[in-house]
Symmetry: C2
Subunit: 304 residues, 2 copies
């Protein structure tokens, strides 16, 4: 079983319009509400891959109940620790030319609430083969939260977050950290343009022993691991839903650990699933045919 | 008791930002979620006036549960018939210069669901002194729905809706219909600019016996009744929240019926409460001091 931790889930509401009348009243032609937050995208992707997955998170209020109801409907097993605050919404307005998003802040989480989550996490670890920690921390939780969860895991952990939570998490030696270029640049404090610069930056972030997989959008993936460095590329750049693509890469890396794929194959699958998900309109979803096609198209080369 | 019917309630979500980055990710500095839809604004205003009020409506899904929870928190008594569809959200983005709104469609209501609502309505009428029918009809209900509810009421009804539902409702002789200028122009099929033109238009709409009160925004109110015609004006135009102001006028008209105010006083209160509500940032709310000040400032003159 893969335990996916989503401490700051969201209800993602999307309105599709032909054109937005700013300053007026708009009537969307389609409305979608889906469980969101990076962790839930990862969990839905793993579920679609046929992996045995359990979501652990914290949820509150009517919006939290909405997230739980939507996950149930999708058949993704989940256990949320109740919090007194209200789970956040994200709201995206999609018109012909662009996406405008509005992200509410998450609820403030109290120490007693997190202690209750920790108890559930500890219990779930008994049946876990891998753990995914993904997304932002809600207000109230310290930057060292993911580091603590990594130290307690006892199984390989894949970490996808940003800022201090990422720096401190990486120092706790998870199996893999998965920053994007902006996130690793923010932590190293310098621009990382060439594969060489990226490999050096990844080596710094993974200094405590974590493999580092950097997502480079349409340019693919770069991995710096204890066993070597690889670059995975698609023959043609795939534009599309970047958030969903990053979360698909995280899911594929965790899946690759559990099914025992060697690094080169793990990266091939991660790049292919990322590309297939980028091509889908909704984060956490992909067409199986796109995934199969992309698997054949990905090239993985050793770069160090 | 005043029964307020809200067949198509909403959860009104408002995001406040300093400036919106269209095409990017925005993080609102304040988020508000409130029960919405015109009927619920009317009910909240009546509740703030100290009136004994009961909301009857139809609600479904997580958003419906959210509306019910928020109303409970506000202390407004309500009974919603459950529907299988999902209650709608409205989403408003407020920045320094303007408000951009996104209104989801309401849930499709089935005949059996409406029959259940009707049974509850019939029961509530036993204790009702007046009924307010306010807002749009959800998809699935015929345009004659309000007319049917008016014929069944047996007590004075105030109707605030638009289009065919308004035309057919007015023909069922409610005590008062409350269109705005655009709504009555749409029904008469001509532009109504002068008080004389408006009085004629109102007379046509009220031909079956309804008094007609037209809200004219900052220009106040015009009433054409069986007892005479009046115009109510504020000495200074009040800009602001037009939706909330119209709903406050509806609330004051129903309240005026129940407390036995003669027309002239009823209109003075309606105009004053509309002005006080227009000055408040949120529909359904007003400052008592603004209401008292406005009551002294309103001028009511007979115009026919």
């Amino acid at each position: 079983m893969i335990v996916v931790v989503c401490l700051n889930p969201a209800l993602d509401v999307t309105h599709q319009l032909d054109a937005v009348g700013w300053g007026g009243v708009n009537r969307p032609r389609a409305v979608h509400a889906r469980p969101g937050g990076k962790g839930l995208n990862v969990a839905r992707t793993l579920h679609a891959l046929g992996a045995d997955v359990l979501v652990l998170g914290m949820a509150g209020g009517i919006t939290g109940a909405g997230v739980e109801a939507e996950l149930r409907e999708l058949g993704v097993p989940a256990a949320f620790t109740p919090v007194s605050g209200e789970t956040r919404r994200t709201f995206s307005v999609v018109d012909d030319s662009r996406v405008t998003a509005f992200h509410e802040p998450g609820p403030e989480v109290g120490a007693a609430e997190f202690a209750e989550f920790r108890a559930g996490y500890q219990k779930a670890l008994a049946g876990a083969e891998a753990v995914v920690l993904s997304g932002s921390l809600p207000p109230g939780l310290p930057n060292g939260t993911y580091a603590t969860l990594i130290q307690a895991a006892g199984v390989p952990v894949v970490l996808d977050t940003h800022g201090e939570a990422l720096r401190r998490g990486a120092a706790a030696a998870p199996a893999i950290v998965k920053p994007n270029r902006a996130e690793i640049e923010a932590l190293t404090g310098r621009s990382l343009t060439t594969p060489e610069e990226l490999t050096v930056g990844a080596g710094e972030l993974g200094g405590a022993g974590a493999a580092v997989v950097v997502t480079l959008g349409p340019e693919g993936l770069l991995a710096a691991t204890g066993d070597g460095c690889w670059r995975a590329r698609m023959p043609a750049a795939v534009a599309g839903n970047a958030t969903g693509a990053g979360d698909a890469v995280t899911a594929a890396l965790a899946h690759g650990i559990v099914v025992g794929r060697p690094w080169q194959e793990r990266l091939r699958h991660a790049a292919a699933l990322g590309a297939a998900t980028a091509a889908a309109p909704v984060a956490g979803e992909f067409r199986q045919q796109d995934y199969r096609d992309a698997l054949r198209a990905v090239a993985v080369e050793e770069v160090c």
